[in-house]
Subunit: 338 residues, 2 copies
């Protein structure tokens, strides 16, 4: 690992991401300048939205420039430092890219202080991106009141499963939609949801009617497409729909029924999108609370780790086809100090 | 007019409404009971959403029962009264149905006091349904700030044209989308919008780019379909989309691109539906303000009147195909006292 393996985006993917969309280069390990630190990337988080960044059209980030190192959400460790606040050995969250080494000014590196009882990888997933997304999306966009009914799509996913569990802590009736028996069982048994709907088993409309006898007050939506339409068909007056993502559209395509959106009018309902970055002000408060819940066993989560940057296309394929179990990470180097 | 001609819904329309969907009966003129009044219907308002009430599925009203008089938003005059608050000759707004005579308890009849300088028909349209919808939808859902850009679809329609003019009074850049040169010219010349887009002329995306150089902060949406998608593609951060209606879906069908909805996530934007009934608390305040604007010439509007209940299918066809000019009314009897 003396050099730096860099994955650069060569072409804008058409549909699913493949190895051919990247150029893999062996570059020199970068050297930190004044006020900068050298970070060894340990974990690269591979969310579905990474696919959006690759498109020509702006998403919530500017389009990834072609020919440059692919952007990536990482956790690493400082290996050399020109800034007093970041001693060597400090773990940091940052946008470290799809590469092994990263140099950045101190203000772009967010120190992380892992607790001995919590895996380091959790600080790049459940105790950061997913936790903050789930907690703030549910509490601030959905505005839940105890006793109301919440439907969560991609409920066994890394964000969805946290939303389900936080929803239960807030006294909600929680109905999770997921693909396949194994995920549904995990939601019932580990996450404690009130009901599950296996969308792959069909009959989603009837199952929603059964699982939500009092209608649907809130939807935490990760997927979009026909299941979302069926949920919208059943919302109650003044329903709140938190749009966290619409993964079904990221590889291109996907439609919604206009008549399903009309339910927003019929029921004076609200659909609102949000980004993690909208909620960074609550970072310390929320992650402290989630860390307590993890330590006392009140929150369950899964992290799915593959080894090596070479697994990037595989990791994205897993995420889009629901083959991952929990947050999808790539391990780029070992946790231990070198 | 001694008897009562009633239009009863015989069958749920498939697609567009036709005469064959109704049974037209000649019934006895109803007799008011204790606390009730007999109203002679003068104007029947024919909004696109009337089509929704005919479907089996609940909209914002319960489904119209088959075999009963079709629901209808009316303005009439009290011809016989068993309630002291409603002397004979009082003009009233009510849900008087698709018929000539209507009996209702006093609490379901809303007295109207027309100003000599304003047409009576305005009190069932711009000074009630459309005015309250336009004003409250724009101010409460869109939360406009002076200098922001507002796009209005069906901008030459009875609600849209009011939204455009109220938007100008609030200091917004207003861009109206309408079908055809005549409507676009009226928007520019009478309503004072900053720019118009004739969606029938094509190139809507490019025209939006030209008309909204600073992006789009608010959308007041009446139609849905591909134009809405193109507007969503261009919204700014924290945009607000007021869903007033999605007429393109009312006769069945219609889709939206999932990727357009994804803009709500990318831009942390909000889409919210609303109903007139959400805002009745502001009725007196808003209609007073609108009446002042009408009297001083600051608000322009159009009312399109056809004569006779027999014109009901024609009126609905006009509304759905944009052949009406302003709020579509049917005149069921003369304004003058009998």
């Amino acid at each position: 690992m003396s050099g730096n393996t860099e994955w650069r985006l060569r072409a804008r993917p058409r549909g699913e991401v493949t190895r051919a969309d990247f150029e893999v280069l062996s570059a020199a390990r970068p050297v930190p300048g004044a006020g900068e630190a050298l970070v060894r990337n340990i974990y690269l988080f591979v969310p579905p939205s990474m696919r959006l960044w690759m498109d020509e059209k702006e998403s919530y980030l500017p389009p990834q420039p072609l020919g440059e190192v692919m952007a990536g959400i990482t956790l690493g460790v400082v290996e050399a430092s020109n800034h007093p606040s970041l001693p060597v050995g400090t773990y940091v969250n940052c946008m470290g890219g799809c590469q092994q080494w990263h140099v950045a000014p101190a203000e772009r590196l967010q120190p992380v202080t892992p607790h001995a009882g919590v895996p380091l990888a959790a600080y790049r997933t459940v105790l950061d991106v997913q936790g903050l997304t789930a907690y703030c999306g549910l509490t601030e966009i959905c505005q839940p009141r105890a006793g109301e009914t919440l439907v969560v799509t991609a409920a066994a996913g890394s964000v969805g499963s946290l939303v389900c569990q936080i929803g239960k802590k807030l006294g909600l009736r929680v109905v999770g939609v997921a693909g396949g028996r194994e995920k549904c069982d995990w939601l019932l048994e580990a996450c404690g949801v009130d009901a599950v709907i296996d969308y792959k088993a069909g009959g989603v409309g009837e199952r929603l009617d059964q699982a939500c006898p009092d209608g649907i007050d809130m939807l935490f939506e990760n997927v979009g497409g026909p299941v979302m339409d069926l949920v919208l068909d059943r919302v109650n007056r003044r329903a709140r729909i938190a749009l966290c993502g619409l993964v079904s559209s990221y590889n291109g395509g996907g439609t919604q029924r206009t008549s399903a959106l009309m339910q927003l009018v019929n029921k004076s309902a609200r659909m609102e999108g949000f980004l993690l970055t909208d909620h960074y002000g609550r970072y310390a408060e929320v992650t402290r609370k989630l860390e307590e819940w993890i330590l006392d066993g009140g929150i369950r989560y899964q992290i799915d780790i593959l080894d090596g940057l070479d697994q990037l296309p595989e990791a994205m394929g897993r995420v889009f086809h629901g083959r991952n179990r929990g947050a999808q990470l790539l391990r780029l180097s070992q946790e231990e100090r070198t």
